[in-house]
Point group: C2
Chain length 474, copies 2
């Protein structure tokens, strides 16, 4: 982010041209635009290294990472040498995982070690984690001992834990210090401090956080004021907490940063909200993809990768559907006599599936937002079932009338209507109960619940049409 | 958040008891637990106001708002008078919209006006927006002129725009100032400043932002350093930008705060990341619910509200399904002869629907993350179609073998396999093209695209089975 200011110092004459390029690169909403990507591709095709360098250096690190995502692997390899060395680390930390793994293979361990020293420990650990075993060793060996041990400590934590999300760089002060002492300490001790920070944590003699002072308050306080007099309560994050819970806490209490503590309650690092924003995006997207039975696939996915992430789910779906249609196979004779049933069944099972998905999505959202617990679960289930009955009734009337209009057969209309009510009710039950059971079993309620609900609604749809038809029509 | 510190000053002896209650109220992951909600309900049932007050005052504002969400309207009405007046405003700003509207009806305009003065202008405007016309007028009339005009200015912006998200309270300084001048200015001018801030914006004489200085840098800089010497470039947010784009920018550049500018480029406010976290949650959840054809429903939804948010989609689904099954109605004679077709069709259309939803979810995510544009769209479509063909082929082999095993009829197996390949391919086309067309039309690609894709895959599933059967089997 300091690029503009740096340029203004060094080459004031060049700044306007660069500004124009950034304007060209980004749309009004700061999304990288296709025309700029094409300019980079053209320059690379022409082997015009100077032009590539000029284009790339007009972008901020996040935009260079975005650019890499739009390119194919061949072009990425051509662009890589033209990336300014001082921006390499930040760009690496912004890249999608798959692309990063690929790019890292092309970098010399010494270059990489040097670049990583400029990152906060959490970001550096993320990058190192994507290296294969051998290269990881040589990169870490090439780093100064302090940075190396910080990265190793970070990697020792679970990949989705607070320990991994946190940075070890943190500003803290003993509770008996004054504002003036804190400010003096910070001006002296430059290297160990985080690049940006938002809170100074106040600790007791055993390093347990007892409060925090937002930097903006510190700035406005008189120098001889005691920290303990205007510190605020802190929300401590245990080092082994899952990142999804960390995100929930930041969102709930509108935190900007929070101290991370070990099992003994001692301060070991901090998590800042900008890291959490990424987690929130990730977790919500995962839920959406899981409900659609996809196990994640970015823009750089290969065709084989797409097949791998989806075919297993489709095969599972094929298996459950085969069971569901066994209802139809049993009643083949009845269908041969009244073929109209073969027309009605798909409508009913489709509506059941849709209603089930609706309930499911609402339930998965409520669970993720921790808006459902024992105190309101009965009320929520009751409401879902009541709404399921009403929706079923409404649809049954519409469908019954439509069947009457097409086939002039009130028994057929009654069959369709009753089967629809039954299936929509099953959808409501399945849509709320399936995710709750998965959650109770300690599993992600978004994963595989839609397969279960579709199976239930298809089975119920086919069976209800055919058994009701057997009772009323035959 | 300052509760703990305040208590320690005022009544050191009471703090432990209160701490225990908060521990009791919140699970390890800081989610409100059911046992505590029940304690509040029990106290309310017994009419024990002192106990209710004690329980409620152990919670932070966000947790009180969460508690309200777990209660029914009757209990909310009983709790309301026991909420500490100085926390009322913050709790109001945390409440779900529906609940807030209900709670606001029970508050006197004067109480409300007094509470709102303590909020930043964006939060106050959110609350005022939920008042009906008459009460809004009387509440605004009871407020000091400055706060009133700030709220009115905020409400003049579109509900999902940057202008509504921003707070007007902002710290800025002319570019020729030194660090010392800024610090002095801040210690003097206490009332107009935001409660917390993270950047001081540097402006030119026409109030256009030319840079920003993070507060943590300011704290470490020497007093006579010029702001212009170490300010960073800023990412300006136009006041009419949609909140979804604002969220994208904050996520991309890891911003903590950003200046909001009017059409003339002049600083009019700032957006801070804690407001954006809520938007990110909201937008991702909306996409997930929209893909499942639900138009949003919180835990406080009534049965009637649930029906209203889902029945219209189901009726639309009924209409499209009716068209899709017309394929079956046309071929009734063929089905009567080969009833097995009625068994195969639902399997194929279900798999097609599932494959279409997979592609759709991936496409909607990529569009929301702005990972698709003209420069990679052909590649992405090509990959999706290739993966669709491969998935179809894989499934066709499995299903063909299954049909052979069950029915010992290679023509039937061939029919099922070919129809499946066709339907999965249609799913791939529909899943990627439908959201792109909706996006191009300026509509939300998540809304209604799953109805379109399900319609296409059902229609293609039925038609392909029956036409291929007509060619091969009959």
């Amino acid at each position: 982010m300091s690029r503009e200011a740096d340029l203004a110092d060094a080459h004031p004459a060049e700044a306007p041209a660069d500004e124009d390029l950034e304007d060209l690169a980004l749309d009004e909403d700061y999304a990288l635009n296709a025309a700029f990507v094409d300019m980079v591709i053209d320059a690379a095709d022409l082997g015009d290294g100077a032009r590539v360098r000029e284009l790339v250096s007009a972008l901020r690190p996040a935009d260079v990472a975005d650019l890499m995502g739009f390119l194919t692997a061949n072009y990425r390899r051509e662009i890589l040498p033209h990336i300014p060395p001082d921006e390499l680390a930040e760009i690496l930390s912004e890249l999608d995982t798959n692309i990063r793994e690929e790019v890292l293979e092309d970098l010399a361990p010494a270059t990489l070690a040097k670049a990583l020293e400029t990152l906060d420990s959490d970001d550096a650990a993320d990058v190192v984690d994507d290296l294969d075993e051998d290269r990881r060793k040589s990169v870490l060996a090439a780093m100064p001992a302090i940075e190396r041990s910080a990265i190793e400590a970070s990697l020792a934590h679970d990949e989705t834990s607070a320990g991994r999300l946190m940075q070890r760089e943190v500003v803290y002060a003993p509770q008996f210090w004054t504002v003036g002492q804190v400010v003096e300490h910070m001006s002296r001790d430059d290297d160990d401090l985080p690049e940006l920070f938002f809170d100074v944590y106040v600790v007791d003699p055993t390093m347990r956080p007892v409060g925090a002072v937002p930097v903006s308050r510190l700035l406005r306080a008189s120098r001889d004021a005691a920290l303990a007099d205007f510190m605020e309560a802190v929300t401590e994050i245990p080092v082994d907490m899952d990142q999804e819970e960390v995100a929930y806490i930041f969102d709930k209490y509108h935190l900007i940063s929070a101290p991370v503590v070990d099992a003994g309650g001692r301060l070991v690092g901090q998590i800042t909200v900008d890291d959490v924003v990424g987690v929130i995006q990730e977790e919500s997207q995962e839920d959406m993809l899981a409900l659609a039975n996809v196990s994640g696939a970015g823009r750089d996915a290969t065709t084989a990768g797409i097949v791998r992430s989806r075919l297993p789910w489709l095969v599972l779906n094929l298996a459950t559907e085969t069971v569901a249609v066994s209802a139809i196979a049993i009643y083949q004779d009845e269908i041969a006599r009244i073929v109209t049933l073969a027309v009605l069944m798909p409508i009913i099972s489709s509506l059941g599936g849709n209603a089930g998905t609706q309930t499911l999505a609402v339930a998965v959202r409520a669970l993720a937002a921790r808006e459902m617990n024992a105190s309101n679960i009965r009320r929520i289930i009751g409401r879902e079932l009541a709404a399921g009955l009403l929706n079923g009734l409404g649809l049954a009337i519409v469908m019954g009338l439509a069947v009457m209009a097409f086939y002039h057969d009130y028994k057929l209309a009654l069959t369709a209507g009753l089967a629809l009510i039954a299936d929509i009710f099953v959808a409501a039950v399945g849509g709320i109960v399936a995710p709750l059971i998965l959650e109770r079993m300690g599993r992600d309620p978004a994963v595989s619940s839609s397969i279960i609900v579709t199976f239930l609604t298809d089975l119920a749809g086919f069976f209800s049409v055919l058994t009701i038809a057997a009772l009323i029509l035959l």
